[in-house]
């Protein structure tokens, strides 16, 4: 009897193992943000770029830590100050068997700016290119106006299409699948907008082949529903795990979590524009002030020093963030090593306020969105507590993102919380957008909503953007970052973490650029 039971048990176990092996060929995953198109040049949006990475390849690529690695180009070198030469990978084929050549690169660069009705164009990545010269089928030269060190980085966002296949392909052709042909690790099978994308493995892929024969890439935008789908076993892998659920998912034996510090920094912007009084700053009796205290470096230092970033990270963010003292997280190119956020010191903050002439502090309204960043409204309340403790009596106002960002862009606020994701993984992106002097024509300071301006910083940044040598450029970017941070141009709070959850038995390489891709998921190595 016992022998029979044991035999039955063994049989049952082997069935489970076999079922597991068969299952391992298919991956069902759910993402929180909808894919809006399969056309890789239509809408520059993280979920679309993540999907495009399955089907297409670019000349260069980002590794999980957002450092540049070879893609369809094996190498890239500056020939002179305004010319980059790229050597293309040989023997690469598109899903329909066509060879990949320099002709395809030239065609792609021509198509990118000419996609009709693009809601957010990829043309920003190709605009610096003045002309294209095909040297031989696997060598191409790109010319720019003057030195442009960011070209290889920009090219990571330009997915390569086939000249023959995509000559007249429209965005609809991609969405319908007729034109969804690339060189990537997966072939396109089906796309149902708002519901799912079906993929199958490209067995002729030039790089590391993915572990999955088939992938069902589902879109579940509701946070609770996505978590529930994982708990119920309907899907095996989800992204954008809400912080309120992390604690519970961590405690679940059937699941595991993967996370990585993202390139998104959450920070406070301050009104640097007005000299005499700021709209949401008042003295202790509620009267408007005659000078703007935020113009005083000591006041800005005090405000930054008052914030206990570790408390926000552990209590509000449930450890799905790390405290930030600059734009980029550890491990990024052009981050200043050993430049830590100021230690929370309310006593010293109060002394600094007194030195600046505000021994009794003042009143301030801190604004922020309530539906954009993880726990945004909770973070500003916590900061309100900390500022009130050093004598800056803070009122907190959270608004829906669309209203909030329009008002912030019109310089209506005195202090407000926003975030910035440095897609290129290096400091030139936040430096140019957030703290460089506002200049519409050059495209500088486009998101510098506090209108911080420092000629010294502009000069160093300008030099960095013309430096082709990676090491020298890194030094210059670090110097510019240091100028901005020493001057408290903005108050960085934390770098968000991206969190994924999956059933136990899967392994995931978490990416700093937030992209959720099936090729980063594998069955865990047997132990």
């Amino acid at each position: 009897m016992i022998g029979f039971a044991r035999a039955a048990g063994v049989a049952a176990i082997s069935t489970v193992v076999l079922a597991g092996a068969a299952q391992a060929q298919t991956l069902t995953m759910a993402v929180g943000a909808p894919v809006t198109s399969i056309d890789p040049h239509y809408h520059n949006l993280s979920p679309n770029n993540a999907m495009a990475d399955h089907i297409f390849d670019a000349l260069t690529a980002f590794d999980p830590r957002a450092r540049l690695t070879p893609g369809l180009a094996e190498s890239w070198t500056p020939v002179d100050d305004s010319t980059w030469e790229l050597r293309l990978r040989q023997g690469v084929r598109f899903h329909n068997g066509n060879d990949f050549t320099a002709e395809d690169v030239a065609f792609t660069l021509e198509r990118v700016p000419n996609v009709p009705n693009s809601p957010s164009s990829f043309a920003t990545f190709t605009r610096p290119i003045r002309s294209v010269e095909i040297v031989d089928p696997h060598t191409i030269r790109l010319r720019t106006d003057g030195p442009y060190p960011l070209l290889p980085t920009d090219l990571a966002s330009v997915r390569i299409l086939d000249r023959e296949t995509h000559q007249n392909a429209t965005t609809e052709d991609f969405n319908a699948g007729r034109a969804a042909i690339g060189t990537g690790p997966f072939r396109f099978v089906a796309y149902r907008p708002g519901d799912r994308v079906e993929l199958e493995r490209n067995d002729a892929y030039w790089g590391q082949k993915p572990a999955w024969q088939r992938v069902s890439y589902r879109i579940i935008t509701n946070n609770a529903a996505r978590t529930a789908a994982l708990l119920a076993g309907d899907v095996e892998f989800i992204d954008q795990v809400p912080t309120t659920d992390i604690e519970r998912l961590r405690g679940d034996q059937r699941l595991s979590i993967s996370e990585v510090v993202s390139l998104r920094v959450i920070y406070l912007a301050l009104d640097h524009m007005r000299e005499d009084g700021s709209p949401f700053v008042a003295d202790n009796d509620g009267r408007p002030m005659t000078r703007n205290p935020l113009k005083d470096l000591r006041v800005r230092q005090a405000l930054s020093m008052a914030i206990d970033r570790q408390a926000i990270v552990s209590r509000v963010m449930q450890d799905s963030a790390i405290p930030a003292g600059q734009f980029l997280p550890p491990g990024s190119y052009s981050r200043i090593p050993d430049y830590e956020p100021p230690r929370p010191d309310p006593e010293r903050a109060r002394r600094l306020l007194a030195e600046a002439g505000y021994p009794q502090g003042f009143r301030l309204t801190l604004h922020g969105p309530n539906d954009r960043y993880t726990n945004d409204a909770r973070i500003i309340q916590a900061i309100g507590q900390m500022w009130t403790r050093i004598g800056v009596r803070t009122t907190v106002e959270a608004q829906p993102w669309t209203t909030f960002i329009a008002r912030a862009g019109r310089q209506e606020f005195s202090a407000f919380l926003v975030g910035w994701g440095s897609a290129s993984g290096e400091a030139s992106s936040p430096l140019r957008a957030l703290v460089a002097s506002f200049d519409r024509e050059r495209g500088w300071g486009a998101s510098n909503r506090g209108r911080y301006s420092n000629p010294e910083l502009d000069r160093v940044l300008e030099a960095a953007l013309r430096e082709l040598d990676d090491e020298k450029r890194e030094k210059l970017l670090q110097e510019a970052t240091r100028i901005a941070m020493d001057d408290v141009a903005i108050i960085p709070i934390h770098n968000q973490k991206n969190v994924w959850a999956m059933r136990r038995g899967l392994e995931h390489t978490a990416r700093a650029d937030e992209l959720t891709r099936a090729q980063d998921v594998r069955p865990a190595a047997a132990r």
């Binding site: 609770a224 978590t227 809400p242 309120t244 659920d245 604690e247 519970r248 206990d308 408390a311 926000i312 209590r315 509000v316 309530n370 409204a377 909770r378 309340q381 916590a382 309100g384 507590q385 900390m386 009130t388 403790r389 009596r393 803070t394 009122t395 907190v396 106002e397 959270a398 608004q399 829906p400």
Partner: protein, 308 residues
């Protein structure tokens, strides 16, 4: 349900001495134990709300008194500095839930009673005007009432708040705009009946000024249904304010009302931190039920058709 018992109880008393209408009303009301219980509970809630600044362990609206390190503590936990006990736990900002509920009741009752009162004044005036003036004025006002009532209250309030922006005052304005129509319709109905009565005719014959006829003769006789509608509308306004705050359109996040406290805790429900939503929800429930108990019985007592 209580009238049948109230009738015989009131009859011997009436035989003993002549009762004023108010005395009769009080004795009839007191006949229902349930209504008395509702009134007692409501009185207690109102007292807590009024005296919250003196009896609450913490001022939950003063950011300096909150400590993020005390966030999401369980009911009965001690604060990090050991100075106080959070009997009902804390929310994500380290706000004492007991204090938060006391202050939240303050907002709920102020908004509820305030908006109901203003809506009553506005609605009753317009209703009386419509009934007394008749003709085009009547049609105009009543079509406006129809228009107002054709929108679901929550939808109309959402639209008004989207236009006005957040804030307690704006919530009151929105609730008044949503609710005045109920009063107008009720008052017009009873005023139409009353104005054909002999005492109004008599007043006309005495050539009393119109204002005096409306406010001294017509209005007092339309009051009973108005009082009933008002108690019901107070409860409705409190629920509506909680709904608006829950949806993030009501009060500022640093001055949470009951609805916002519930919304704050809602996201933690899956993580087992029930108390952030649960206790404010219970407080809201008790408040609304107690008002409705009183209101239901008032309707029975004040409705002449139910009298034997």
């Amino acid at each position: 349900m209580s009238i049948t018992t109230a009738g015989p109880a009131a009859a011997p008393a009436a035989a003993a001495k002549v009762e004023t209408p108010f005395q009769r009303f009080v004795s009839e009301f007191a006949a229902s134990k349930l209504a008395l219980f509702g009134l007692a509970v409501f009185t207690m809630i109102a007292l807590i709300a009024i005296f919250a600044p003196w009896i609450a362990p913490q001022n939950p609206y003063d950011l300096a008194q909150l400590d993020i390190m005390d966030g999401r503590l369980e009911p009965g936990a001690r604060s990090g500095d050991g100075t106080m006990t959070y009997w009902l736990g804390t929310d994500d900002q380290g706000r004492d839930m007991l204090s938060g509920i006391m202050y939240g009741l303050r907002i709920s009752l102020t908004v509820g009673a305030g908006s109901a009162l203003i809506a009553c004044v506005v609605g009753a005036s317009l209703g009386l005007l419509a009934a007394y003036a008749g003709g085009r004025t009547d049609s105009a006002i009543m079509r406006l009432v129809d228009l107002q009532l054709s929108f679901p209250a929550i939808l109309a309030a959402l639209m008004i708040l989207a236009f006005l922006g957040k804030g307690i005052l704006n919530v009151v304005i929105a609730l008044v705009l949503v609710e005045w129509a109920y009063y107008a319709r009720t008052v017009r109905g009873s005023a139409l009946v009353e104005r054909r009565r002999e005492y109004i005719e008599a007043a006309h014959c005495l050539a009393l000024p119109t204002r005096r006829i409306i406010f001294r003769h017509l209005l007092p006789n339309c009051l009973p249904p108005l009082i009933v509608v008002m108690t019901m509308q107070v409860a409705r306004a409190i629920a509506l304010e909680a709904t608006l705050s829950f949806l993030g359109l009501g009060v500022p996040i640093t001055e949470p009302s009951l609805g916002l406290l519930i919304a704050n805790g809602y996201e933690y429900m899956l993580s087992g931190k029930y108390w952030i939503s649960f206790y404010p929800g219970i407080a809201l429930l008790i408040t609304i039920v107690s008002i409705n108990l009183v209101g239901d019985h008032l309707r029975d007592v004040l409705n002449p058709r139910l009298k034997k």
